[in-house]
């Protein structure tokens, strides 16, 4: 309970007028950022527990950690960069079916994506990460591409994908 209370408290502080309008001084903006990050990190633990609970009916994580990648807007998810295989769990918070486009930053262009339920290969497209994004000084990623595919999400549902790196030969054949 205390975990989500911290974000509630920090959001309360940020509802002060200067945070809403962006008219705070720079050192205050920095403090607001720190407060938000602290609150969000606490909430992430709650989200992870919820996902663990939801997914336990489908498969066991065997204490394998789950994590989020908040910097995917600048094509960065350092955690998955070294993985040959990983899984993606998606949760749709809307009470209706939605179509969404998944974009995962990856180092190489040779990945295959499987739908966990149907075990079918999913059609993907590779998109280059352009130089302008690579030059963002805060970006530490080595990802050169975004791996993109279409995902249809059930209302309030969970969708799982398995992502596997392949040999370049197999990737060229697939292309």
């Amino acid at each position: 309970k205390n975990s989500i209370n911290l974000l509630e408290k920090e959001m309360g502080i940020l509802q002060h007028h200067d945070a809403v309008s962006g008219t705070e001084r720079q050192h205050v903006a920095n403090d607001y950022s720190k407060r938000l990050a602290r609150g969000i990190n606490k909430c992430l633990n709650v989200i992870y527990k919820a996902f663990d609970h939801l997914t336990s009916k489908l498969f066991s994580l065997n204490n394998e950690p789950i994590f989020m990648c908040p910097l995917m807007n600048i094509s960065q998810c350092i955690e998955i960069e070294g993985f040959e295989r990983f899984s993606l769990i998606m949760y749709n918070p809307l009470p209706r079916e939605v179509t969404t486009w998944v974009r995962l930053p990856v180092i190489d262009s040779n990945y295959i994506v499987y739908d966990f339920e149907s075990e079918d290969k999913v059609q993907t497209q590779i998109s280059e990460v352009y130089n302008e994004t690579k030059l963002i000084p805060e970006r530490n990623s080595k990802a050169n591409y975004d791996l993109v595919w279409k995902s249809v999400q059930r209302p309030l549902g969970i969708k799982l994908y398995s992502v596997q790196k392949t040999s370049r030969k197999e990737s060229i054949i697939q292309k």
Binding site: T23, L61, I74, F86, S87, L88, V98, T99, T100, E138
Partner: protein, 290 residues
Amino acid sequence: SENLNLNNEHLELNFDQNGNLINIKNKHSSVSTPLKQFYCIYESMPGNNSESKFQASGAYVFRPMKNSCMPLEVREYRVQNGPLFDEIHQVYNEWISQTIRLYKGEKNAEFEWQVGPIDVDDKIGKEIVIKFDSDLKSNSLFYTDSNGREILKRKRDYRPTWILNQTESIAGNYYPINTRIFVRDEPGRINRNNALRQLTLVTDRSHGGSSINDGSIEVMLHRRMLNDDALGVSEPLNEKGSDGKGLIIKGNIKVLFDTVENSAALHRELSHQVNNKPLLIFTRLDKNEE
């Protein structure tokens, strides 16, 4: 040497030989408009910090020096086609670029923008907007969801509850945007498509925005100034990144173009999706191990 276009089942975007967007067409509704999309730079009023009469543009106040902005054209571009989406990546200058993306089956076009670090080596503050100029007969009207709950009608140089003496022809017409802004052919205005059209922008964050001319929409993306507006902050709006230069920011705007009749359902649904995206969680475990 030929004109370019991005196409899917619903939309067609046409570009000139230099990579500038010039036209949009909705194939289902058979409506189209010349659509010039570009980036524009307002010079910030440097002001005089001790008198509000010469107030500087700053954190509280958007106050451009002139009543027009400096338009930028595409300097270089690259096109990428594929089975799921087509995109054109456009570079406007050293610190403004964008990718226009059209996914198969989607009724909107995505404009992914990146702005910064804004160059102020010339000692001039700058405020960067993205502009969409169409031929829609909007009759001085535009619409924003400024209070986050409902769409509010806005009229240029007008306030519904008092007689306005407009002294700031740009900033005086700016309004907050939470998730969307649109212009449309107002009833009674004749257009060559024989249908009332609507151009809607769905944003991924709050902005300021306006319609300075009929059929036009502009959205403020990024600002960097060198003077304080003398309203209490006592420092210019000049945030810097980890490299000591101005911030680089990145976001996207989804563009819908359809008839007025169809648009409301489209932008409501799209805005829900943009603001309530699926949560993505990763784990190293994969299906074989499971």
